[in-house]
């Protein structure tokens, strides 16, 4: 059997979504961003809304997300993605609008924008990648850095007394009446990635119905920032991040 016989549509078990470009990802080996991107891109593809989607990239490792998603995108100032998304959605209400933000962007410098966009119930999807560290700037402490976790600005481990507590912003915004669907996932194993994709798809479907803000958190690893191999980082994430940031739905529609 020749190669051309094998590569034909009915034999394909997996196909790269056209919502992702062919550009080589700049992310570090083993980083969760690539899979998270793909899950979101596949969700957009499945719903057939590529031409109706406008994304907002943050400042942080995923600042260049606009090179990888083949949808129209805007790059926002640090933390301002929910405000930029508000400006887009209010003037383009028929479009699907998402932000893709890290923990520093969403839960530190952009806390006000996050909370108020959620509180207004902006009909947008916020994808929140939580790896407990500032990856892009070289591994500094993030608002979600765990107690005792080492970073370049908490070299002896995060000390709660002097550095404050890790912020569970996802639980926080779930309290707001403007949020409709708030859930926490991960993408380190195929089963987790599939669940994350289902959540992203559901959130985009709710957006079509103007239900309010949907926030999907993805707890992710950062091998470079955590100074671990990819495999070690996934294990560390499961053992340390998941107990503090438990996976699962936090707020689901009551209907």
């Amino acid at each position: 059997m020749s190669e051309s016989n094998i590569i034909n549509p009915e034999n394909l078990v997996y196909d790269k979504t056209s919502v992702m470009t062919d550009r080589v990802l700049h992310y570090c080996p083993g980083c969760g961003h690539g899979t998270a991107h793909r899950m979101l891109a596949e969700a957009i593809d499945d719903l057939g809304i590529q031409g109706d989607t406008i994304g907002v990239a943050p400042v942080g490792c995923s600042v260049l997300a606009y090179y990888y998603f083949d949808v129209d995108m805007q790059q926002a100032a640090h933390g301002r993605a929910p405000a930029v998304a508000t400006g887009i959605k209010r003037t383009m209400p028929e479009k699907y609008v998402f932000t893709y933000q890290g923990d520093g962007d969403l839960a530190a410098i952009g806390t006000a924008e996050t909370i108020h966009a959620c509180n207004r119930g902006e009909n947008i999807l916020i994808v929140f990648i939580n790896n407990g560290i500032y990856g892009m700037t070289g591994g500094q402490m993030a608002p979600t850095t765990l107690e005792g976790m080492k970073s370049s600005t908490s070299p002896r481990g995060r000390d709660i007394q002097s550095m404050g507590n890790p912020l569970k912003i996802t639980e926080l915004v779930a309290q707001l009446p403007g949020t409709y669907y708030v859930t926490r996932h991960s993408v380190q194993k195929p089963a987790n990635a599939r669940k994350a994709k289902r959540a992203l798809k559901k959130a985009l479907e709710y957006q079509k119905e103007n239900k309010g803000t949907c926030l999907v958190e993805i707890v992710a690893n950062c091998p470079s920032g955590w100074k671990m191999t990819p495999a070690q980082s996934n294990q560390w994430m499961e053992e340390n991040m998941f107990p503090f940031y438990p996976l699962g739905d936090i707020k689901v529609p009551s209907e």
Partner: protein, 355 residues
């Protein structure tokens, strides 16, 4: 079909935004410009034209909402006053860097810090020299009347879209708060065009649109800077606007902008009554600055006096424009104080005539 109304500066400006066909206004209350958003909320332009109005959680959020809407090719506006404009500066730099059009109104109050809510022109440097980070310029329109506040909203959007650049209307607490007769222009329809640079949803067979100000490679960033600089040279060539009064035979020249120019004109007329041949030039665009006109007049006059409601900011540009052809003096009141024609004339006599 003239539509004349007696209107407060801030309210007239808000009405002008609706009539100019603006798609969105995002703002945050601050004295002395809160009437802009109050008027818009009362008027509810969503019913009139479909224009969206939203009170943001901060000035920072408001300018970033403007960024998002402008990135979709929409006519978006925000307004604030000095401390709030400082907060918007990051966003304005991003808008300039991403080459998006928008109108930003600054109804200036005196600073620094929280300062006072009284009128001032102390944000001249911030408006014309950058304010935010990086090499960028925005066109700065300086209205002297409520009428100009109205007209500059329409002109501001035209220029913003012509150059894909932020335009600032540098008003002040006097013009924002006072009532004057205005002639309102007719309602312009909101645009239905989708510019090719705007994120409106990827078209089949076309590349996706990216709105960004980021270039990681220095070589690429320099190209962006060169392109921006070329655009600014075009603005300097095409968009200089100013008004002169009795400059034909002038031996002395006053330079003043905005509300201060109206007071300075009185001082100029006082000089004329005393037989002193004085004239006035009023820059209507502070960037681009009327460099050539001032240089030409500098060669004609014995001296130039710049009058501002600040500690001396535009005077630096006047000196650069005069290029030593005539001495340039300065008189200003600040901290929210407004100079009277008498004190301007006295300062002029003392500094220029040597009385």
């Amino acid at each position: 079909m003239k539509e004349l109304r007696l209107m407060k500066g801030n309210e007239a400006l808000a009405e002008a935004a609706i009539r100019a066909g603006a798609d969105a206004y995002f703002g945050y209350p601050i004295t002395p410009q809160s009437e802009v958003i109050e008027y818009l909320m009362r008027e509810n332009p969503a019913d009139r034209t479909g224009m969206q109005v939203l009170q943001a959680e901060s000035e920072v959020a408001a300018i970033n909402m403007v960024y998002g809407a402008a990135g979709c090719g929409k006519k978006a506006m925000t307004s604030s006053s000095s401390p709030g404009i400082s907060l918007k500066m990051e966003g304005i730099s991003y808008i300039a860097g991403a080459e998006l059009p928008c109108v930003v109104v600054n109804v200036v109050r005196a600073g620094p810090g929280l300062g006072t809510i009284q009128p001032s022109q102390s944000d001249y440097f911030q408006a014309v020299k950058g304010g935010g980070h990086g090499d960028y310029k925005m066109i700065v329109l300086a209205p002297a009347t409520v009428q100009e506040s109205v007209d500059y909203v329409r002109l501001g959007f035209e220029l913003a879209f012509k150059y894909r650049n932020p335009v600032m209307i540098l008003s002040d607490g006097i013009i924002g708060q006072m009532m004057e007769k205005v002639e309102l222009f007719e309602q312009h329809p909101r645009s239905t065009e989708e510019p090719e640079w705007a994120t409106v949803g990827k078209k089949p067979g076309k590349d996706s649109v990216i709105v960004t100000s980021l270039q990681l490679q220095s070589e690429e960033q320099e190209k962006v800077n060169l392109k921006l600089q070329a655009k600014y040279r075009e603005m300097e060539k095409n968009e200089v606007r100013y008004e002169t009064h009795q400059c034909e035979d002038a031996e002395y020249l006053f330079v003043a902008f905005g509300s201060c120019a109206r007071i300075t004109r009185k001082a100029m007329e006082m000089a004329r009554k005393k037989g002193i041949k004085a004239g006035l030039i009023r820059p209507q665009t502070l960037y681009p600055f009327p460099v050539k006109a001032i240089h030409k007049l500098a060669k004609q006059v014995k001296g130039i006096m710049t009058v501002e409601m600040n500690a001396g900011q535009m005077v630096e540009d006047v000196r650069l424009a005069a290029r030593g052809e005539a001495p340039v003096e300065f008189f200003g009141r600040f901290g929210g104080m407004i100079p009277s024609p008498d004190e301007i004339f006295n300062a002029f006599e003392q500094k220029m005539i040597g009385g």
